[in-house]
């Protein structure tokens, strides 16, 4: 199975400090990491490859430094890395990013594409599904379990997964090629291996510009991004929280009554 994993290099939010005077994030000197959800995507891809054979390519769109994220993925066992890079890609929103990534995936070919559910710096969860739309293939987001995957020598195959929903779990089967986005519950990412680290040092990272994936500068980066950010704020919590008072008996009674009223019981 040819698997592509889309990964993003993000600032390590655990290390980000806040400038007390301006109230903004201090990004200088903050180490970069692979987006934590993408680590689970990498593990999923490696697990499938180890079971079914094939090859895993990690893809990222970013500045030249993003190469470090690809090398880290290789140290975990990913076979090679592809860096979509060039000035023309700067300032991309999710649409322009997905267009670029899908172009790169088309260029190398893939039976399965795995993405993290979202990036911790943007939190949109849009890029995975948008890549699938550009490629015109099915996608399943929020995958928390891969039930089975198969592929024959003519690259016909399918993947059956559990999708995490607000109210429970869907079991979804998709024909390949397909794209999945994954949540943390899916697996525990492996640590690098020594052979992987040695390999990561030596491997040459392929680079692709917009022209090389057949895209004009108008449709990528800032030019290709219709999004306009009007305001950034923390949304209010979706549901309220109430602490019941009184003894255990009273609390249970109040809880049952409330649940009945809300037609939960």
């Amino acid at each position: 199975m040819r698997i592509a994993v889309c990964i993003k290099q993000v600032p390590d939010t655990a290390e980000v400090k806040i400038n007390r005077e301006t109230g903004t994030l201090v990004r200088e000197g903050v180490p970069s990491i692979i987006n934590p959800y993408d680590m689970h995507a990498i593990e999923a891809a490696l697990g499938l490859r180890d079971a079914l054979g094939g090859k895993v390519t990690a893809i990222t769109m970013g500045p030249p430094q993003a190469e470090a994220a690809l090398r880290e993925a290789i140290s975990m066992g990913v076979d090679d890395g592809l860096l979509v890079t060039g000035r023309e890609f700067a300032g991309a929103d999710t649409l322009a990013t997905s267009r670029a990534l899908s172009g790169a995936i088309r260029a190398i070919g893939a039976d399965l594409i795995v993405c993290g559910k979202q990036a911790i710096d943007g939190d949109t969860a849009q890029v995975g599904p948008e890549v699938a739309e550009f490629l015109d293939i099915p996608h399943v987001s929020y995958v928390r379990k891969i039930i089975e995957a198969e592929i024959d020598h003519e690259a016909r195959g399918s993947i059956k997964v559990e999708r995490l929903m607000d109210e429970g779990v869907d079991v979804v089967q998709a024909e390949l090629p397909a794209l999945i986005t994954v949540v943390r519950e899916l697996n525990t990412p492996r640590l690098p291996s020594l052979r992987g680290k040695i390999n990561a040092k030596k491997t040459e990272i392929k680079k692709l510009s917009a022209a090389e994936i057949g895209l004009t500068p108008e449709v990528v980066g800032f030019n290709g991004s219709p999004t306009q950010v009007k305001k950034i704020f923390t949304p209010a919590p979706r549901c309220g929280r109430r602490v019941l008072e009184g003894g255990l008996e009273e609390q249970v009674e109040a809880l049952v009554k409330e649940l009945m009223e809300k037609k939960c019981l």
Binding site: L191, S193, L194, R195, I198, K201
Partner: protein
């Protein structure tokens, strides 16, 4: 200090540290309290290729040497000596095969060891043979195509958990020390069983058990080296592994020191962080100096061994002696500068102090190391005349 490590050596150190920080530190207290064998961590080490470090590439390893093993052991030891003892004892048990195995024996065992699929243990000590290894009573009687083993090994690290055992037994008691031989015994061999798991002061994640041989028949080809070479195998094995015990000392001392620095910077008494008091500063300065001196000795000894030198007995004994006596002092002083907090299980230094004690005892007590060093000094002086 910069020890001019190569890029790959730095990678090994980083990888071992990452495993220590992400996989060992979060569970070390629980492993200690439950006296639980760290199988999960052994699987991580296997997946990271660290079991293959010192095994030649032709047998599935990475073909590195003592220095690389030393670096990995040091980093793991900074997190938990129980875990690092498990890992280091695997190397101890492997050396007899690596140093004295035939090509067939190496092909049979080393690839699985390099992959971390099968763990190894080394069995020399017995109830009546501790420092005096010559006192071993376990026998190996040749009967046709088999050796028949009888006797009991005591306090064997990885006992019961390992699948491959390198064991020293008397194949001819009448010859005294020249009558000992080394053997490979596999776990499921009939007549081979284990005693109860020992309850210890420290390194509680490490399993220590008796090996019991009752008419245990092993194929004749399981002998390592020739008959009568048992003590040579044992001594060369210990010469190779002792520097690793030194590395454990450097690691645990560094781990304790790092805790001590962090604590003394934040603990305030008499209106000042306690690190502002000269009494504390001088203790920390001595600790840091001793750690660095031990590290330099351990690394350089490992490099000397990797250069192919064969007169390593004295220096490896020195590295073990100095680094482990240092580790006992530094872990004890880490508890001291942290006061009551250091004594509490909320902080890891009480465990480090309990753990560090074993380093002065196993693989030859530090008294025995001094004996070894002195014997070599006497030999050298006699030669110089």
């Amino acid at each position: 200090m910069d020890y001019f490590l190569s890029e790959e050596q730095m990678m090994i150190k980083e990888l071992a540290r990452q495993i220590a920080v992400e996989k060992i530190v979060p569970v070390r207290q629980e492993l200690d309290e439950k006296e639980e064998f760290p199988w999960e961590i052994m699987r991580v080490l296997a997946g990271s290729d660290l079991f293959g470090l010192f095994i030649p590439e032709e047998f599935g390893g990475l073909g590195k040497g003592s220095l690389e093993l030393t670096l990995a052991v040091e980093e793991l030891s900074a997190a938990c000596l129980g875990v690092s003892t498990t890992y280091a004892a695997n190397a101890l048990g492997t050396y007899p095969i690596l140093l004295f195995g035939t090509p067939e024996q190496k092909q049979k065992y080393l690839p699985d060891i390099a992959a971390g699929k099968r763990l190894v243990a080394f069995g020399l000590t017995e109830a009546n043979a501790g420092s005096d290894a010559g006192g071993i009573q376990t026998t190996a009687r040749l009967e046709g195509g088999h050796y028949v083993l009888n006797g009991t090994k005591q306090w064997i690290t990885n006992g019961g958990e390992a699948e491959i055992y390198t064991v020293i037994a008397m194949s001819d008691k009448s010859k005294g020390p020249r009558g000992a031989s080394a053997f490979v015994v596999e776990k499921d061999t009939p007549g081979f069983s284990f005693g109860k798991k020992e309850r210890k002061m420290g390194i509680r994640a490490s399993a220590t058990r008796e090996l019991v041989f009752e008419d245990c028949r092993i194929p004749r080809e399981n002998i390592l080296g020739r008959e009568g070479m048992g003590f040579i195998v044992a001594m060369k094995t210990l010469d190779s592994s002792r520097v690793g015990v030194g590395a454990q000392g450097v690691g645990v001392a560094q781990g304790a020191f790092d805790e001590a620095i962090k604590f003394t910077r934040s603990r305030v008494q008499f209106g000042h962080p306690i690190i502002a008091f000269q009494a504390i500063q001088h203790m920390l300065a001595d600790m840091a100096t001793e750690i660095e001196a031990a590290r330099a000795l351990v690394y350089h000894t490992a490099r000397y061994m990797d250069s192919g030198a064969n007169d390593v007995t004295k220096v490896s004994a020195m590295a073990k002696l100095f680094a482990t006596d240092m580790a006992m002092r530094v872990t004890t002083n880490a508890v001291q500068v942290m006061g009551g907090s250091g004594y509490m299980r909320e902080y890891p230094v009480e465990k480090m102090m309990r753990d560090a004690k074993i380093l002065q005892i196993y693989e030859g007590t530090n008294q025995i190391q001094r004996n070894v060093i002195a014997q070599n000094l006497i030999k050298e002086a006699a030669k110089a005349k």
